[in-house]
Amino acid sequence: MNQDLDYAPLLLVPVLALLALPLVGTGSTWLTLTAAGLAMGMIIFIIASGLTLVFGLMDVLNFGHGVFIALGAFVATSVLGAMGDYTASSSLWRNMLAVLPAMLAAMAAAAAAGIVFERLIVRPVYGQHLKQILTTMGGMIIGEELIKVIWGPQQIPLPLPAGMRGAWFIGDAVITRYRVVAMVVGLVVFLALAWVLSRTKIGLLIRAGVQNREMVESLGYRIRRLFVGVFVAGCALAGLGGVMWGLYEQNVIPQMGGEVLILIFIVIIIGGLGSTTGALIGALLVGLVANYVGYLAPKAALFSNIALMAIVLLWRPWGLYRITNR
């Protein structure tokens, strides 16, 4: 993406994994935890990628991003629930014939909700951070209540399709199938984003807009229209992430978005606001730390990601990748 890429942050993920190896002790447990951490990180990245671009491009603090995660997950319960024949099959391919429409429906619903959210809640408070925090949090509460109206307030199970259950064994290490699916989906999203950002004019405009909106407008481009597009795409990705997270947890509740949101903010702060590559590395670090610490010192799990953020910010106060000109 960037021809002059700073490679030091890229080494953090393998360095962290290698540092954890002697602490965890056994290689098989380490491999299991690493695979779980990478899968969790990829799901978090899917959700965080849109939010970091929204902040980078328009300086908008969207604390309502979580509602699109929950909406995506709930839409998935309806779609997968209606395709029982496909989800009950032990064939992964038949499962995908159900999961893919669920993902697309979740993304479409989240994108549609994103258009309304941007128009009614975000647009009136451009440039006003405090109001953005208050109104977008309010928007999330309203969104959660609307989800309760449609799907009910109770927890809804979102079982994995039959072909995605179970695990592969590498020696004594257990690699659950769904985690591999999550890693593949996350990788596809990252590569697609990287391609759009580095190879298309729209991507060029987004990267330029993240650095200097005013200059992009002075060149004759309507950055607000671009922002709406990025916001809606970010919501769609959050919807996709909601499906992945719901399947990961195997149940969904209306508040699930708010619960994940703290991790998402940690990720985009670690990565550097506006940087998708930074968000990917940040997400993988958060996923790995959550799994390693959850195994080694469960009582410290809640604190671990905050500590990770503090350490990264002590090293690089603007996050792993600083977006220049801002």
């Binding site: 960037n2 021809q3 002059d4 298309t200 004019k201 060029l204 405009l205 990267r207 330029a208 650095q211 200097n212 005013e214 200059m215 992009v216 407008e217 002075s218 060149l219 004759g220 481009y221 309507r222 950055i223 977006i323 220049t324 000109n325």
Partner: protein, 241 residues
Amino acid sequence: MSDALLTLEGVHTHIGAYHILHGVGLQVPRGELTLLLGRNGAGKTTTLRTIMGLWQASAGTIRLGGRDITGLSTPDIAASGIAYVPENMGVFSDLTVAENMLLAARGARTQAQMDPQRLHWIFELFPAIEKFWNHPAGKLSGGQKQMLAVSRAIVEPRELLIVDEPSKGLAPAIINNMIAAFEQLKHSGVTILLVEQNVAFAQRLGRNVAVMDQGQIVYAGTMDELAADPDRQQALLGLAL
């Protein structure tokens, strides 16, 4: 004097509680280079930003080729034919030189679609642009960034080029390059409005001069007239040319 491409009439600009421009009236003749001079804080940059719609005029009218552009959005003003080089150059440091140029070439989706003749002309004006084509713009020197900023502004034909302090912070050799480039641009028929504090630079370029003080145009005439009147220079600019 030929007909005016850009006309400002009684333009006032407020930024927050501050009243910065107090009825600016300015004419920029078509096909010529006009210099806007003045002390620090006189309102020169605010005038350019108001023309571009980056700050909205609170009163008055701005016309480009007879068309009222007051109150239009910045993208609409740019699309109407004005290219703007801000004081900080506005170069996208994380993008390559080529990507910076492609962004400004609104009609092109890829580098291959950029006008090769125009690129060739730019490479002749500023050889550094071709030399560092695939380099990150953030790695360029100050002078090279200024060349990129000007190149970006002329990568597509525009009616009016407005440039804010192109000589700021540049070495004398680079300033000579810039002067040569602006001379060529002038001869190519581009209308230029140039804000400058470097009086030596301004003198070598300008025929038409406007001087600002306290948010108003206090002098409009030719550089020769201004140069011949030391008292006026001292009064308007605080120095002798």
